[in-house]
């Protein structure tokens, strides 16, 4: 039985081999010209202040992340809803509108509180 999974094992081995090979060859032949901006941690184009490894992130990143999760979860619910919408009829239609308007209240709140303004 287990033998039927042999192709999976083969492809896992092949992927690991290819990935390490590509990285290895790349490190041999790529040009290396480091300068200050290139070495700095990437922060959405913002000038970094202090050390990122000490956890000194701008609090705005967390606010944006939370807002992202809200809409991520909304999408997560919208897909199964769309699949069964025909069977469930008007009730499901109205319920989803209520759900989205509750999320919209959250967005309006965050917007008015300045969560979307960067500086």
């Amino acid at each position: 039985m287990l033998i039927t999974y042999l192709p999976v094992l083969l492809i896992v081995g092949f992927v690991i081999f290819m990935a390490t090979m590509v990285l290895f060859v790349n490190s041999l032949v790529s040009p290396k010209k480091p300068f200050r901006e290139k070495l700095s941690p990437w922060e959405c184009g913002m000038e970094p202040i202090g050390n990122a490894d000490a956890g000194h992130f701008k609090v705005h990143f967390f606010v944006i992340a939370i807002l992202f999760i809200v809409f991520d979860v909304e999408t997560l619910f919208l897909f199964p809803w769309a699949v069964v919408l025909r069977d469930m009829g008007l009730v499901a239609f109205v319920e989803m509108f209520i759900f989205i308007s509750i999320l919209a209240i959250g967005l309006v709140y965050a917007w008015k509180k300045g969560a979307l303004e960067w500086v």
Binding site: V91, I102, I105
Partner: protein, 479 residues
């Protein structure tokens, strides 16, 4: 799934509280910073409307929303307790958060969200709906705990609470998933039917039950899951300490009783001993550690741990007597604990915090009224007749004796004697010593109303307990 209008009508109180909170968020955005008390009064209005709605649909007993949610006397009784706790906490907060300099509309809105979470916990008849209600309540309380942003200990309390709370939620969910894996259902009455059909409880089920006990034990601050309580109670805004020592505690007991008696009742032999050991430890640690506290909020945190131990004894006793005695105890505890925190909040004025027990020295010489109120609430917490606290403990011990747990009742009585010491010590400081400083109490009409309600409840239930006990007895769920 067909649409059933009764689903909406019977969950109307929850819908009122949630949509009221959502509307208040929008209103809060357009209000000026010095108009935030409007949100407070509108929140009180929302609670009153929801209470009226609960009153109108009381008497129904129906399982709605595919068996996830129930309207019965039990949930109605607890919801009324939650309305009371939230109402009193908001009344006490209006002036207090102004003094602390954190007057924001979100404060009251988060309390409404916590209230709706508690209501879902009391009405939930499925482990998952109970869990969702619990998280809604807990997340709101985490934020409220850290509401005084410029205060380090408030932030620390919120941080500790959120990390330990998330951990305990994980433990609880693990228990729920094990129960589902073993029985194939999370619906409480189905669960009871499956467990009745099985023979003895197997080892995996005992593991699952232990996880559930740990998860709920954290929420009610039972030993050994009580470590968070003193720090969180001390750091949180005093009005929130008052709120979370009664509301969420009562909600957790509502869910705990329903889960353990209605669903896990058929296998009670596998958890009664565990709960009995935990309740004895909880009473002992709560009462003994409270003896050495110097901060009154910390002392009341340990006292609240001890009270959770007494209420757990009611679960051990089980049966209609046990359930009714816990319900009555939670109602009484709401009145007396709100009252004692209300008097502590009155001490907070200007830069004076009034959080040390020594601060109350000689209070009776300066302000007779405030000292008398504290005396009544402290006597009630200690369980001295004719206050309500005595009645609550009396019925719990009676239900224990009736069900044959005489040893546990004796331990409970001994522990309440120990706890009398630290309550009476404050009374002694207030009445027997000369004042060392000026007292200037923060009186407002709102806090006076809250204290009047609390003292009325404490005294009336103490003198006329039968009506309230019959009310609780008529409201228990079958199981």
């Amino acid at each position: 799934m067909t649409f059933d209008i009764s689903n909406m009508i019977l969950s109307m109180p929850e819908i009122i509280v949630l949509s009221g909170a959502c509307l208040l968020i929008l209103l809060d955005l357009v209000l000026d910073r010095n108009q935030k008390h409007i949100i407070a009064y509108l929140s009180l209005l929302v609670i009153l409307v929801a209470a009226a709605g609960t009153w109108l649909i009381a008497g129904n007993s129906e399982n709605i929303l595919s068996g996830m949610f129930v309207i019965d006397g039990y949930s109605t009784f607890f919801k009324m307790t939650f309305y009371l706790a939230t109402f009193l906490a908001i009344l006490l907060s209006i002036n207090y958060i102004k003094v602390e300099g954190v007057e924001r509309g979100e404060y009251y809105i988060l309390m409404l969200f916590a209230l709706s979470g508690m209501m879902i916990m009391a009405s939930g008849t499925d482990l998952l709906s109970i869990y969702v209600g619990l998280e809604l309540m807990a997340l709101s309380i985490y934020v409220l705990t850290g509401f005084i942003q410029h205060n380090g200990s408030s932030n620390e309390a919120a941080m500790k609470y959120v990390i330990l709370g998330a951990f305990s939620s994980g433990v609880l969910l693990y228990g729920i998933s094990l129960v589902y894996g073993l029985t194939g259902t999370t619906q409480l009455s189905d669960l009871a039917a499956v467990l009745r059909g099985q023979g003895g409880p197997d080892i995996a089920l005992i593991l699952a039950i232990t996880f559930l006990v740990a998860g709920f034990g954290f929420k009610v601050a039972a030993v050994p899951f009580h470590m968070w309580a003193p720090d969180v109670y001390e750091g949180a805004p005093t009005s929130i300490t008052a709120f979370m020592s009664v509301g969420p505690k009562a909600a957790s007991f509502a869910a705990l009783l329903r889960v353990f008696i209605a669903a896990l009742g058929p296998v009670s032999t596998s958890w009664v001993t565990l709960i009995a050991v935990i309740s004895v430890l909880t009473m002992a640690v709560g009462s003994l550690v409270a003896l050495s506290q110097t901060n009154i909020k910390r002392m009341l945190a340990y006292s609240s741990i001890a009270h959770a131990g007494y209420a757990l004894l009611g679960l051990v006793a089980g049966g209609p007597d046990g359930i009714a005695s816990v319900m009555l105890y939670m109602l009484i505890y709401t009145f007396m604990n709100m009252g004692i925190f209300g008097t502590i909040i009155m001490m907070r004025k200007g830069n004076f915090r009034g959080e040390n027990i020594e601060d109350y020295t000689g209070l009776s010489k300066v302000n007779k009224g405030a000292a008398l109120l504290m005396l009544i609430f402290l006597f009630s917490l200690a369980g001295i007749p004719p206050t309500a606290g005595f009645v609550g403990k009396f019925y719990i011990f009676m239900s224990l004796v009736r069900n044959g747990y005489i040893a546990l009742a004796v331990i409970g009585v001994i522990m309440s004697v120990v706890s009398a010491y630290f309550y009476i010590r404050i009374v002694m400081l207030m009445y027997m010593k000369e004042p060392t400083r000026e007292f200037d109490l923060a009186h407002t009409p709102a806090s006076s109303l809250a204290l009047a309600i609390a003292v009325a409840g404490t005294v009336i239930i103490g003198i006329l307990p039968t009506w309230f006990l019959e009310l609780a007895k008529s409201a228990i769920f079958p199981g």
